[in-house]
């Protein structure tokens, strides 16, 4: 096609005819999106009525009066362009779509909509917003760019670890992750998705937008639309980047000599002689940070080809991502291929197929930082002969673990995941106004997790292989009727039937008692002891696990005078997770929008070019609990077996640790939303503000039962949680000249979360503690009435009893030097009654500020992030101070300033009477970070048949983090995606600072 234009232009040039004063101008207008010719573009000589319109190929011809004439190119949906003729006679023009245009089409649940017609609350993030930055995961694309969406990078492990919440957490025990829908298909696992294939992500936030997803919409919905080919010749893009990561900072630790002095102090005897300490002062010992962390390279290669004709379009891509972890021996690789094909077979029939295949490889045993960095710093990792020092040279110092370098260097972990996501549709237009769309999708996830513990580590060798398959099927049948015969009334009705089915099955095979490490997990038969378990999930005990959902949906959109917009929807869902009598749920919503800017009295105000008011209300549900939750299922596990003869165990079957609840049903969220969209100065300044209030009732709540009852938990529909707040998005085009472009988007999210009711008169519940069992006899977090879902509990630390305070100390059975806690109830006893709320892991608000600056061919893009008012329980520091059930001695540099009679500090020096659940370890986790900054330069090669453009760039992630937090970083957390354990720092995988350079070719 492109060559055709060139030929026609050549022909035009050859037939050029010179006339006095009049200059004949010709050219082709193309779209910046797909490089195809743009028909119907108005080309007018400024200040005159002379003009023409481009033909079907986008070409035009026009006579102008002289070199000073200015041509104005305009077309609906594209930014107007002006150009002075000068000495040229061939003027080609590339026109960019008007991205602020209200004509922009956005994806909504089960369909698309003009942005101007939206009545609900939706945040759209398109590839344009992040394509200048080298990113590999969807959380990087969403973080800081979508108002109302809180994205936390919970781990620095390569290829893993993020948590996304939309307008806070509704549920206490249910999962609060949003629903992810890729090209109409609900998918289970997002981790392997190649973000470079994504064209746009729409985040549905209010009831009007999400109620169409019924029982799974309450946590918000992220609609992901992958790229498709545009009309025109094949467009080839190759992008590659390389970089290196390292942890953002180290923890303050004592020197080996200081540690030795600390041990002597704690033991009250000379574990280390003064000679030994003097030797350590002159070197020796180990810097464990250096052993565990490294500079880790990463690279990404993306290749895509797209194009199409009137009848068919295609997008094909391949991606290879390879990253080492900053913690030694960690590696992640991802291979993926996508093929999106759409075909219009006739005026009535269209079909399409999107298919995605990926393979992930996660390898390497992770060093346990929690044990490793608190290990003995006086013992080098290796002895003089180069063998491991397995245990501290002085028995019983530091902690009881073995050298934490041994496991990562000798054990094996190789996890392989294969994912297929395929969905196809068949579209039939009965008439222009009636369309049937039948789609079917499949997601298949195969996990193969392998591990091997070396004989060196446990003397017997132990291999474990877990194979899991998850199949997810979906069928959606949608009938859409559109009526727009009268310009004052437009109507669209959707009727949808949908069914979904998920089944997971798995087998775990374990073997131990190997005589050789030679074959690791690959030959289980070499293990003397064999055990096989059927379980669908690694931490579960049930197999198979299935769920299914049957749904009917209806939606009506009505527009009156294009000014008053109404949407109403209802969805009925039946879920297998609930028993027959409580299976069906109904989720209605309604919304209204008023385009005030279309009113005459506003149109008179020049600076306002868009003003819309949106109001919505509706009910949405959540069924985000595991299948089989309502049942009491007997425990079949090695932990209930018993060796009656002192030999092999007899298999035991124990009654369930869960109380059955056949009445279990939906959790319901009622949400109201009021929003404004304002565009000023030709939408150079845009503001969207949404205020919302959500109330979640009949919570799916895991009620923890007192231990003497027997079953330890029952899931009930009780309690209420409220979320209210606002999302604000402020967009500004600050400078837009030929050379300069400066724009920024600020997103601010504020959410207040509050527990309104729990079970009966219970004011506090202990839930969660998923990150580490057996560490805390009292859960550091609590769910409390009138407070956010997760608050920190502990004693109020008031420093240390000083000399002269003997009498006061004695009242609490203490002596100077011991920790002092606030006696809340004044009973001169420090008991669990004095445990209060000492902090809160929820931020007051979060924000992201994305800037794009371009000058000529340079572009600079950076994203600033902030989170304010969230606390962190720093249990890593707690352990480093020598506290907790598994730590013997302190390694933290703060311990150098421990209380002694001659150093009256506020740092307790002993362990007796020192509580580790106390405000002593609460820290402010607020931060501002330069999440990403990228500087690029673009080369264009006009007329070059081989290459069209090249962009080179350099980028930095987490260039700086401004925070008072003393741990590795304020983002990484031990609690992963849990909402009841927010802000726990305990053996978290720290996030990284990385630098990269990249190239992007377009052919």
């Amino acid at each position: 096609m492109k060559n055709n234009y060139l030929v026609s232009i050549l022909i035009l040039c050859l037939t050029f005819e010179v006339r006095a004063q009049q200059i004949q101008i010709t050219g082709t207008v193309t779209s910046s999106e797909d490089k195809a010719g743009l028909p119907g573009v108005n080309v007018i000589v400024q200040g005159t009525s002379t003009g023409t319109v481009t033909d079907v190929d986008g070409t035009y011809a026009l006579e102008v009066a002289g070199e000073s004439a200015v041509l104005v190119f305009s077309s609906v949906g594209y930014l107007q362009e002006e150009v002075t003729v000068g000495s040229r006679t061939l003027i080609n023009m590339v026109m960019s779509p008007d991205i602020t245009s209200l004509e922009e089409i956005v994806v909504v649940g089960y369909g698309t909509m003009k942005k101007s017609d939206l009545t609900g609350s939706l945040t759209s993030v398109s590839a344009d917003d992040y394509q200048l930055q080298p990113i590999t995961r969807i959380d990087q694309a969403l973080q800081g760019r979508a108002a109302g969406v809180t994205v936390t990078q919970t781990s620095g492990a390569p290829g893993a670890g993020y948590k996304i919440r939309i307008r806070g957490a509704n549920s206490i025990s249910g999962n609060n992750a949003p629903l992810y829908v890729i090209d109409g298909l609900v998918v289970g696992d997002m981790n392997s998705i190649n973000v470079n294939d994504i064209a746009s992500m729409e985040v549905l936030k209010d009831a009007s937008a999400t109620a169409i997803y019924g029982s799974r919409g309450a946590n918000g919905v992220v609609l992901i639309t992958t790229k498709s080919g545009g009309k025109g010749p094949a467009k080839i893009e190759v992008e590659t980047f390389y970089g290196v990561s390292k942890v953002t900072q180290k923890l303050p630790v004592m020197t080996p000599a200081e540690f030795a002095e600390g041990v002597n102090f704690a033991e009250g005897t000379e574990f280390y002689t003064s000679d030994e300490i003097a030797d350590l002062r002159n070197g020796g010992g180990e810097d464990w940070h250096e052993r565990f962390f490294r500079e880790a390279p990463f690279s990404n290669l993306q290749l895509s080809v797209s194009g199409g004709s009137d009848a068919i379009n295609y997008f094909v891509s391949g991606n290879l991502y390879n990253a080492d972890g900053t913690l030694r021996n960690q590696n992640y690789k991802r291979y993926s291929v996508r093929t999106n094909i759409n075909a219009t077979l006739s005026k009535k029939i269209g079909v399409g197929l999107n298919a995605y295949f990926s393979r992930e490889e996660e390898t390497g045993v992770r060093a346990n930082l929690y044990q490793g960095l608190t290990w003995d710093p006086t013992t080098p990792a290796f002895n003089e002969t180069g063998d491991y020092n397995f245990v501290p040279l002085k028995p019983g110092v530091g902690n009881g673990a073995i050298n934490q370098l041994v496991a990562p260097e000798n054990n094996v972990r190789e996890n392989f995941n294969h994912q297929i996501i395929a969905n196809g549709y068949f579209k039939y237009n009965f008439r222009d106004d009636l369309e049937l769309n039948v789609s079917g999708g499949l997601e298949r996830l195969d996990r193969n997790n392998n591990s091997y513990t070396s004989i060196l580590v446990n003397q017997i060798g132990a291999a474990k292989v877990f194979n899991q398959g998850i199949t997810r099927l979906q069928n959606t049948n949608r009938l859409t009727y559109t009526w727009n015969k009268n310009s004052n009334h437009r109507l669209q009705i959707d009727a949808i039937h949908e069914q979904q089915f998920v089944k997971a099955q798995g087998t775990e095979a374990e073997a131990s008692g190997f005589f050789s490490d030679n074959t690791t997990y690959k030959n289980l038969g070499l293990g003397a002891i064999q055990r096989t378990t059927s379980k669908a999930y690694p931490n579960g005990t049930n197999n198979p696990v299935s769920e299914s959902l049957q749904s009917f949906l209806g939606r009506v959109n009505y527009s009156l005078f294009d000014k008053f917009l109404f949407t109403a929807s209802i969805r009925a869902d039946a879920s297998s997770k609930f028993a027959e009598n409580s299976r069906w749920g109904y989720f209605p919503s309604g919304s209204f929008a008023y385009r005030i800017s279309d009113e005459a009295f506003i149109q008179g105000i020049e600076i306002i070019d868009d003003l819309k008011l949106r109001v919505s209300f509706g009910q949405i549900g959540s069924q985000a609990i595991e299948p089989l939750t309502r049942r009491a299922i007997p425990i079949i596990d090695t932990i209930v077996n018993y060796p009656f003869e002192g030999e092999a165990s007899t298999i035991g079957v124990a009654p369930s640790n869960r109380l059955a609840n056949p009445d279990l049903t939906w959790e319901t969220t009622t949400q109201g939303n009021i929003g404004f969209d304002i565009g000023l100065w030709d939408s150079k300044l845009t503001l969207s503000l949404d205020l919302y209030q959500k109330k979640t009732t009949d919570l799916l709540l895991d009620r923890v039962l007192p231990s003497y009852v027997g079953p330890t938990v029952v899931t009930q529909n009780v309690g209420e949680v409220e979320n209210k707040g606002f999302d604000l998005r402020l967009g500004a085009t600050i400078l837009d000249t030929d050379d300069w472009h400066v724009s920024s988007i600020l997103s601010v999210s504020k959410n207040n979360n509050k527990v309104l009711a729990l079970v009966d008169d219970i004011e506090l519940m202990e839930l969660g503690l998923v990150y580490q069992t057996n560490t805390f006899p009292v859960n550091p977090t609590a769910v409390q009435l009138g407070k956010p879902i997760s608050t920190f509990r502990g004693y109020v630390f008031e420093g240390v009893y000083q000399l002269g305070e003997e009498d006061e100390a004695a009242r609490y059975g203490k002596v100077p030097g011991q920790a002092r806690y606030k006696d809340i109830n004044g009973d001169t006893l420090i008991t669990s009654d004095d445990i209060v709320t000492v902090g809160d892991g929820n931020p007051d608000f979060t924000w992201g500020w994305n800037w794009t600056v371009s000058w000529k061919k340079f572009d600079l893009n950076f994203l600033l992030l902030g989170s304010h008012g969230n606390d962190i329980y720093n249990f890593t520091r707690m352990r480093m101070m020598g506290l907790g059930a598994a730590q013997f001695h302190a390694v933290h540099a703060d311990y150098n300033n421990r209380w002694t009679p001659s150093n009256p500090s506020e740092i307790p020096s002993g362990r007796d009477g020192t509580e580790f659940l106390s405000s002593q370890f609460i820290e402010d986790g607020s931060f501002v970070s330069m999440k990403n900054i990228t500087l690029g330069y673009n080369f264009d090669f006009p007329g070059n048949n081989f290459i069209e453009s090249l962009r080179i760039y350099a980028s930095a992630e987490n260039l700086f983090i401004i925070t008072d937090y003393t741990g590795f970083d304020p983002e990484a957390t031990a609690s992963g995606s849990s909402d009841v354990d927010l802000g726990i720092d305990l053996n978290a995988y720290p996030i990284n600072r990385s630098y990269s350079v990249g190239l992007k070719f377009m052919f």
């Binding site: 017997i460 009727y481 299935s546 009656f644 079957v653 006899p777 009292v778």
Partner: protein, 511 residues
Amino acid sequence: MKNIIKYIPKIVLIIVLAFLSHACADLEEDVSGVLSIENLSGEGDITAALAPIYRGMLEAYQHPHAAGVPTYGADDRTTWWAGNKAPLRVFDRFDYGSGESSDINWLPRGWDAYWKVIYYSNTLIEGLKTSTAPEDIVKIADGEARFLRALAYFNLVRTHGNMPILLDGDVPTGEEQRATVLQNYGHIESDLLIAEENLPSPDAVKSVGQASLAAAKTLLADLYLTWGGWPVKDNSKLTLAAQKAKEVIDLNYFELMPIDELWLLSGQNSGESVFSIQFSEVENLQNGWPAGTSFHEARGWSDMYPELQFFNDFPEGPRKDATFYTDIPQRGVAAGKIFTKDPPTIPWQQSQRQHPMYKKFATSENLTVGNRTAGYRAFEVIRYAEVLLIYAEAQARIGETPESIEALNQVKRRAMGLPYLSPDGATDVTTATVNEILDEKGWELAGEYKRWFDLTRSETLEEIAAKRDPNENVTLVRQPTKAQYIAPIPFQAISTSKLVQNPEGFSVAGE
């Protein structure tokens, strides 16, 4: 709209086709992999239901710092004064008694394990009522479940005082209140009376790990002896205590092992063992006592070792040699394996913990299965020596007899490495006070999770604590009083229920 109508057949056809090709999703969960345990129909079902009950008991007894945590106040137990033993020191130094320290690590271990035993037992006992299995199998299983439930309740009541009562057929509400000690003794007694009827004699048990009627009778004797002491002090029960212990002696089944063989791995499940917890090397299910009682320099955890005064008072002889290491093994790890250093031992006074170490638990250790000392020997819950001493004490309290003195003398003779059935003029006594018998019991059963209960029921704790060697590195917060007889209930149970914490929640029977 009229025009649409003509398309309806087409629409219906397409939708029907869509449905036919993929039938409606089945809305029932797949439970084909879930085992149904509604009905205990045979021996297999019943054995599978018994295993978790025994396993729960195993967890309580697995380490010195499992169920034994609240018994560190006894003089046969102290712990490392530094390191991670703060929760054990809470009890060693009596830093509790008014509701403090309910939220410490390791305190819930015994509590949780015992309530698991009770829940599983209740479920089995209830299920056996409608079981279609042969009657003799049902009877024995019922006896085993009742014995284990009684043992769990007995240890709970002795440790924490008043307990809520949940038995078979009770539906838990979470509203339960604590019942008195006396009420608890009632249902424990009732369970054990049924158990001694239902259980087989010790020579007829199917596996070495299963309870026999001798186990039930000994526990009953122990219950009666405790009933006669603090806090209920019903002297009328002492006769029953003596009677039940005598019934076990009169079985003429049990014997006392030579003291130098008793604690070896080969000495497990011997003729001295009345009831023991089984571990398994093939399953790598470890007995944690060797590691728990060994010092770090011997590749253990230094959780429990004897107090100096207890050690010093312990009479010299073969039993003392079999009970303690006075030379502490010195070990390291190379290439993942434990090796012995040079010198292989150092005197206890120079060791890191500056105390002797328990040999009785460590001598059966296995140093080849990891980088820390491991154990697989069965743990003695009830030994015949205890039966003899219960008998001797109970009888001494109501009037000693030649038979009760003989029972005491058998233990003393064995302690001296003598044939225990042959009188020995140098060792034998002709009379003994209750306190002398208590001392003997303390030495004989040193470290075995018995001493604390003897000190409290006999109200000798204060006296013993006052004798504590001033050189102990763990310093007392206070001298114990009755407030320290009862350990706090773990925080989780208090905070999730209507139970009242000690001391308010504890009232002596009859009040």
